[in-house]
Subunit: 491 residues, 2 copies
Amino acid sequence: MSKNLTKRSEDYSKWYNELVIKADLAENSAVRGCMVIKPYGFSIWEKMQAELDRKFKETGHQNAYFPLMIPKSFFSKEASHVEGFAKECAVVTHYRLKNDEDGKGIVIDPEAKLEEELIIRPTSETIIWDTFRKWIQSYRDLPLLINQWANVVRWEMRTRLFLRTAEFLWQEGHTAHATREEAVEETEKILDIYANFVEHYMAIPVVKGLKTESERFAGALDTYCIEALMQDGKALQAGTSHFLGQNFAKAFDVKFAAKDGKLDYVWATSWGVSTRLMGALIMTHSDDNGLVIPPNLAPDQVVIVPIYRSDEQFNSVSEKANEIMTDLRARGIRVKFDDRDTHKPGWKFNEYELKGVPVRLAIGPRDVENNTIELARRDTLEKEMIPGSEIVEKVVSLMDEIQKNLYKKALDFRTKNTTEVDSYDEFKEVLEDKGGFILAHWDGTVETENRIKNETKATIRCIPLEGEKEEGTCMVTGKPSVRKVLFARAY
Amino acid sequence: MSKNLTKRSEDYSKWYNELVIKADLAENSAVRGCMVIKPYGFSIWEKMQAELDRKFKETGHQNAYFPLMIPKSFFSKEASHVEGFAKECAVVTHYRLKNDEDGKGIVIDPEAKLEEELIIRPTSETIIWDTFRKWIQSYRDLPLLINQWANVVRWEMRTRLFLRTAEFLWQEGHTAHATREEAVEETEKILDIYANFVEHYMAIPVVKGLKTESERFAGALDTYCIEALMQDGKALQAGTSHFLGQNFAKAFDVKFAAKDGKLDYVWATSWGVSTRLMGALIMTHSDDNGLVIPPNLAPDQVVIVPIYRSDEQFNSVSEKANEIMTDLRARGIRVKFDDRDTHKPGWKFNEYELKGVPVRLAIGPRDVENNTIELARRDTLEKEMIPGSEIVEKVVSLMDEIQKNLYKKALDFRTKNTTEVDSYDEFKEVLEDKGGFILAHWDGTVETENRIKNETKATIRCIPLEGEKEEGTCMVTGKPSVRKVLFARAY
């Protein structure tokens, strides 16, 4: 298989699009802005799902399922939510088609017009809080910790596979609490779960922070986020966790009786990560040879490619390969033995490089004789001859090593590409020449934030929760600032 | 907790609706015909999903994801498919809302009308075969074995929780093959997977068979099905597997080059089971006390309820309970220790009966003293005192025993309620007085089938694949018949 992949240095965006398609992750469908997630891409998403689902359940959350279609009027109930979400969306207006009287296929039946239009959920706060009203009466019903794995639709004009699609897959958590403190604690706990997952499972370092008011979720009092840095110096928001205060409880009239019998509105959070994480995965680790997948997420962690000319050679090589495969599987490693006779070894090497399989083993007749195996690492592209007696231990320890190496590489990249600046000129210079994360003082006003955005296309990614809190003056207005905030151009 | 459940003998349909809601499985939402699947119900569905997913993957199928919205014109491409599916469906006509100029909330933006309407998938053959065209060129790309877990929408007028809802969750398999034989083999293999799952995992006996022409999936050459018998004597179709021939390949122009280079259309199958299985589960095993769940599907297989008056008693009882819980978990049993002090033991007993937990253990101070535990089986409602030294083994073996007992009970019920008849009068009599499955000779024509349906509301559930093939004459027309077929009134 010839890869013919555009180099990242030539055209990063083209490289990304080609890689997503050539590595069999996803492709565009006949429906504008909607993608098909191909089996290989979906199997990586399934690994993410499984691990996140485990973490949610471990912390007491339960899955449930709410309707895809939401009555239009629900969106108007929470004032700021409607502005943010009920605009670019898919609207269901009819419930029947009929044969065209002129014989031109099928047409809408005008008699089957809905009294009230239904909106395909762009997010489910409204329908879920309409349901929570029935589930919550007393403090005994709280906390209510619900998660939903679902598809959502937001009508995006410019779409890109995984990064921005009209329909995408995600999980959305929705929780209800008796006190403000407990809801804030939940919001932060989820942020930690997300950060932990993205850093340790996906090997992507993130900055945890708070969004500024103008970047907040529509209807939230606070939006926490994790921000990652892509190889082209642009930021990507990898997950958000919202403290919703009592906004949705008030909009949907959800009250609970406290222990002392007093009625009060319930406190809420919501939080989500989506198939966008696939984009983050690709743009953090992959290279000009194709995908690079951390072992934790790799559908196949190891592939064994046999090298042979005759049937006899194939048999002896296969025997050795099966032996190694059995031993590796016993150690919990996901191994594939690619014994297809329809493709040459070189073609297979290219394919598995393109698909990012962490470790490739090649075994030929010589290796059987000498009891050696050729091992190639996808992350470093290094090859090594390993004695047969050591191969299992070597591969097992490599899983951990590659996982850590990918994280370290990404962290080093981010460190090199995070710049502290003190003046607006320096800010613009760094943004143009180097890109990446920029830490700078800001006066805390929407006006200054908007000015910077309009003049440079950089946005405040977050007000970091961690790191130094040195006071200073805003790089644009000179007004006082309590700490530097994180800027970048972003996906 | 007081159950207040209508008795099955009084009003089966009311009993069902009450049970679904009181056992926290699902409820109606604000959206007509769309349900909310509550956490307890969803956790049972997740168990079904996990087991089916494992079986699909074990047999070489891969998951993928295709768009929710399908262009209207796609449905017209396969002639019989459009008749069956493009009628009662949710139609997306616009992609934007705007603020009403009169300040009355939000309204459709007439400028944002789609050129071509999009249909929320009622099933995905069309969009998937449009995609398969790009994935299949040569025999090397076959077989292509794809599955999708998804939500679908069919605009049903009369809906019932789980049994018939406008939106439901399901899996839909779509496969492509080089030969007719291979596609038929796949269709049958999946039917076996379904039957196996429903019988051994859900403890529901099924009859495997072929649908008659008029009951076939729109676009299929053959529809295989599994049919189960509910406690009220009505049948429920629990899963279908369709042999689609080359219909969709022709409609979407999907050809492949065979080894000899010759181009031919691809052969197809599709198959699915849905959240309707939850309805089958409930209506097969449950009783007037509530839900009965087979151990394989029970979110909690065992619940331990402590009985105490003082803190001291609670402590010693808890110690014992935790010990047993640890031992049971080590044996792979899902155990919950309900130590809530907000509810009395009697209330808890009722709750777990209602929710169908297979085994309940109760431990009081006397039991700690005597080293005994009270064990109650949900399936038989029997109680027994078990010595502490035997409790773990007893519970472990009960899991298997209860699973088998539920299957046997359901099978006995079906056997008792399956009647062979030789005349149409007898047929009508049995249908009225006894209900259940009726085996009778039929002449194989649509006319006779329709006449029976119109006159008795009974349909041919299937032409059984197994069982005796005794020739005879049609009970209605007296024309020759090759074997008796299975009739029933159905959900």
